[in-house]
């Protein structure tokens, strides 16, 4: 720092190359630093000039705490988009400060997880930030129609999320409909107080609506005519609208011409009859989601065959008949995306016919289609060679040989979910040929070992996410190969892989982008390994060390020192004590802690840690602490924005991994 200061003061004499560049050019350079927020932070810390340039360049801000809001806001005057979802406490005064600092500069505000504000703050925001275009108020369960009336003053609002605002009613929505005429997107998901009148009025007044989410609203067919008349409507979500039924859908006759995506999931009262009338006029429908709806029969498939532009259909959780699948196969369109996750009745015959016709499939989800065998896999791999995503968790009848086919034919795979399958090292070796693979899920694959994983590590260099949950055959060698071969790894789960030791962690510490590490139930891992991770993986934000009995305070102290981006930690059953917990308080980002069955934890230590961690939003605690600690303490913490979850589970000893699988099967 000293040298930097000197550089600045001697600027007139000491020529620096950055002085040649105009601010605009530096801005453009900074534009390329978008990938990792920490890079910008480093940049701004170089010198005062960089600091000012960076603060003037920044357009989006996602503060962690609201305490220093005034300072942060004055540092970044050009911010247009403000994400407050990480701030545990946003009060009316915070919003007031924001609205007065940014005024008409501000375009987007996210309050989706904020609490403690009321219509007064919203009103300030709407009044002062006249150019506000996006506002996310999801989960503001307490706000009422008065807040909606305040939002209605934001005349330029285009996107508004109100998911789970349970206390608002038609009246409030009516205010918005009249006030925010430029709305393009509105989400009213779970706004249980809003009915036909509110939804209908939005459609009547806001003619620019592109995206309309009405999930789980108590609406009926009455509001549909104005909605379907919307000229530009592209995305309509009617998930779980039980009030909509066939009878009146058939009366509607006309569909919406501009509609591109329709979600009718969980609409139990809508069958193919109503669906066909709803989609009849929709000439450019591309995506259709009918999850958990009426059975996929021949009639349903036939009723949809006229959708000439359909690219994606999701039928998750539906009862599926063979003839229905075959009929989908006979559609003249070529689907890009098909989801049959958890569908009952998916057979080899139906699925094989379907996939042989839709050769262009990019995404296929056959999770939990328990009847399919190697026949289906053979057909899928044979015809759909351009598959980019294949999810086939728990296809238990698929034999290990079938997985070889995947690696042989579907070389473009980027996402592969083989959780709970019979795949073995041979299959894994084959799959390693898919060099574009970025997400690989191999949880509960008991047949794989480090041998197969080594192949993946060698070839799949683009791997970002790897899930090895309870794949007990894995040991350090496999992890080492992965860590060495996949430098871009961000997420790894080796939970309950009992053979994993500190060596694995030390090798993973070489993956600088690692942000999520789950080593739950790895008893061989010690504080040493965790220290290596803390030092190496600066971006670590989620850490689960539950049941790592050998991790103690010695691991916590370096973690607290180095892992300054840690947000979420699970310490249950570890050997951490008061000291370790208290040291975590130095991580200012820390928001969520799960602290169950810590033997070395005393009530006073817990209190100290809780008070010291100022940014906590969620803490899971043993229920016994509730009575041990004074109630005002919890009230104080809750007022800071922390939510407590009390657990009263008895101490669980770890069972044998193989035994666990057997137990699981018994339950099934």
């Amino acid at each position: 720092m000293g040298t930097m200061k000197r550089q600045r003061s001697d600027k007139a004499f000491n020529f620096t190359p950055f002085d040649l560049l105009t601010e605009e050019i530096v801005f453009i350079i900074l534009d390329f630093l978008d990938e990792n927020p920490l890079d910008r932070k480093s940049f701004s810390l170089v010198c005062k000039t960089f600091y000012t340039i960076e603060s003037r360049h920044r357009r989006t801000l996602k503060p962690l705490r609201s305490e220093h809001l005034t300072t942060i806001l004055s540092r970044y005057p050009q911010v247009t988009s403000l994400d407050l979802s990480l701030c545990p406490r946003i009060t009316d005064s915070s919003l007031n400060v924001i609205s007065h600092v940014y005024k008409s500069n501000l375009k987007s505000v996210d309050l989706s997880r904020s609490k403690f504000f009321s219509h007064v703050g919203i009103s300030n925001l709407a009044m002062n930030c006249t150019n506000l275009v996006e506002l996310d108020l999801s989960n503001a369960t307490e706000i009422r129609d008065s807040a909606m009336a305040a939002i209605a003053e934001a005349k330029n609002l285009e996107k508004l999320w109100l998911a789970r605002c349970k206390s608002i009613t038609d009246i409030g929505i009516g205010c918005i409909a009249v006030g925010c005429r430029k709305l393009r997107l509105i989400s009213l998901k779970w706004c249980l107080g809003v009915g036909d009148l509110g939804a209908g009025l939005i459609a009547v007044k806001c003619n620019d609506i592109r995206s309309f989410d009405l999930s789980y609203l108590p609406i009926t067919n009455k509001c549909l005519p104005p909605i379907l008349k919307l000229q530009h409507l592209e995305d309509l979500v009617l998930e779980g609208c039980f009030g909509i039924d066939d009878n009146s859908l058939t009366v509607l006759k006309q569909g919406c011409k501009s509609l591109k995506a329709l979600d009718m999931s969980s609409c139990q009262n809508v069958s193919h009859v109503g669906l066909s009338s709803l989609t009849s006029g929709s000439g450019c429908l591309q995506q259709l989601i009918l999850a958990y709806g009426s059975p996929v029969t021949l009639a349903l498939a036939d009723s949809l065959q006229n959708l000439s532009t359909l690219q994606s259909i999701k039928l998750d959780g539906c009862q599926v008949t063979c003839s229905g699948l075959k009929a989908i196969g006979n559609w003249c369109v070529s689907l890009r995306e098909l989801s049959l996750s958890k569908c009952l009745g998916v057979s080899d015959e139906g699925l094989s016919t379907l996939v042989t016709k839709h050769k262009d499939l990019r995404k296929l989800d056959i999770t939990c289609c328990r009847k399919i065998t190697h026949v289906s896999i053979a057909h899928i791999t044979n015809s759909c060679t351009s598959l980019a995503s294949l999810k086939m968790e728990s296809c238990i009848l698929v034999p290990r040989e079938a997985f070889v086919l995947i690696g042989q034919r579907c070389l473009l795979l980027e996402e592969l979910d083989l959780t709970d399958n019979e795949i073995d090292d041979e299959g894994l070796k084959s799959i390693s040929r898919c060099s574009k693979l970025s997400t690989l899920k191999l949880g509960i694959c008991l047949n794989i070992t480090e041998e197969g994983l080594s192949h993946v590590g060698l070839c799949c260099t683009k791997l970002v996410e790897l899930d090895l949950y309870r794949s007990v055959g894995i040991s350090d060698v496999g992890i080492l190969a992965i860590a060495r071969g996949c430098p871009g790894l961000e997420i790894i789960n080796v939970a309950y892989c009992g053979k994993v030791t500190d060596h694995s962690l030390m090798s993973l510490a070489k993956c600088p982008r690692l942000n999520t590490l789950e080593i739950r139930g790895c008893p061989l891992v010690t504080s040493l390994g965790l220290t290596a991770i803390a030092v190496g993986c600066k971006q670590l934000s989620k850490l689960d060390i539950k049941k790592c009995y050998n991790i103690n305070d010695a691991g916590m102290i370096p973690l607290a020192h180095f892992a300054q981006n840690l947000r979420q930690i699970n310490l249950s059953y570890s050997s951490v004590t008061d000291v370790g917990l208290l040291s975590l308080a130095s991580i200012s980002c820390l928001q969520s802690m799960t602290i169950l069955h810590l033997k070395g934890l005393t009530p006073s230590g817990l209190v100290a840690a809780l008070l010291a961690c100022g940014g906590l939003t969620k803490v899971k605690l043993q229920a016994c602490f509730k009575s041990m600690l004074p109630q005002p303490l919890f009230e104080h913490l809750e007022a800071r924005g922390c939510v407590f979850q009390w657990r009263d589970k008895a101490f669980q000893a770890e069972v044998d991994p193989k035994c666990w699988k057997l137990q699981l099967e018994d339950v099934q």
Binding site: T91, D92, N96, N124, M127, N128, R144, D170
Partner: protein, 522 residues
Amino acid sequence: MDLNDKIVADTWAKSFSSAKDLPKQLTSDHRSFTSFNNQQQQKKWEVSSILDYNNRIQPPFPEFNHTPEAPRNHNSQIKGPDREDMQSNEKPDNKRFQEWDPRVMLNNLSFLEDKIHQLQDLVHLIVGRRGRVLGQSDELATQQQQLITADLTSIIVQLISTAGSLLPSIKHTLSTANPAIGQLGQLGSMLFPPTNSLNGVVLQQNSGGSKVSGQSNQIDLTVNCGTEQNYAAEEHDPKDDDDDADEGENLAPGSYEILQLEKEEILAPHTHFCMICGKGFKRDANLRMHMRGHGDEYKTPAALAKPNKDSSEPMLLKRYSCPYAGCKRNKDHKKFQPLKTILCVKNHYKRTHCDKSYTCSRCNTKKFSVIADLKTHEKHCGRDKWLCSCGTTFSRKDKLFGHIALFQGHTPALPLDETKPSSLPSDRTENNESKLGNIGFNFSASGSGGNAIQNMVDVKGAVDDPAAYFSPLNFDPCNIPGFHEFPRPTFEESDGFFSFPIPGACNYNQKTGGDSGSNDLE
């Protein structure tokens, strides 16, 4: 009426086995005396005309000499002997009239019969009580007297309301709710003294009306109430209730006959007039009933039957035109739409071209020109909880939303309890400016304070000069020109109710004051 009839019949069936022995004609007449007496007490009638009538009436109905006693008795303690006297008078009459009994009238008359017995029984009751309470204090006696009189009153009211069709003259006077109409009626009866009109006798009774104590007021009230009900019931004949109901009727231009009544005719209370005496009636049936008094030739079943039934030829359809030039219902209008019935004409004319003289007593804002409309409104008044920013209230939410969907710039208004924090001063009468200041301050100050409640408490003290409490970022809303462009006048009218839009207006101006460039008010 049928229902009433039945109830009465049931109640009195035992005690009046001889019900049919009573004189029909007399019964009705006598009844009307009582009712008239009650009803007219307040009115000041010219004594001369009263006397006039009295003289004329006496010859044809000598028994009326006695009957005036009855109402007076009622006013000042009805006496048993008098009553008995009356009965003895009635009995022979009854026999005299029994032979003559047209079927058409049977129902109505027997009903009235029952009614008179009802009265009779009550008088008996009074007599009995008087005997018993003799030794008691005067106060108790008057109490009982009041009680009985009240009973009597209610019966009279019932009688009046039910006998409306039988006794047109009653209705004629009852409709004096509108003074002009009442005078008209009076005029008519003066010009053409009816032979069977009871007005005269009643009026005579009225001359002694000053004796009547507070009870008479009470009676008056109830009587009025009864008449209004009666009136409303008539106006609300479902067939011709709404004059706009025939909107869709498509009659070929020549297929009907267009009648146009003059304004005076429309506003006149009656449409059917007696050819002989000129007395007016609302219904033809009442006129036919009235005609019997003019001679035996009008008492034949043929004369009493509905005239339409007699005419075998199909009548040309009659449609009506509104006399108001330029009205769509006027026959000269390009898109003329005829009115179906005279009642339609009346309601239409009153609703569209007359002053709305009836004001709702509850809200004091809604006005009507047709009294039935007022009645309908009063049933729902105060229950309209759905509110638009323009001040219109709706009883149903979907109606409000229909209204908002239709009009640009109208917004649903929030109920008071939601917009106004409870700690704010709830004085509705304070002027709007200071209220604006309050709320504006409240918003702006919350930034510095953070504790909303405390701010509100502060505000209480700030009512006098709210502008002084604005932070530098806020501006006095009153001084900003754009402020008055906000659709505020409507809010001013209905004080207090619209606290929701006002903060919006206020804050908006803070903003416009901030950067004068953005002037996008709507």
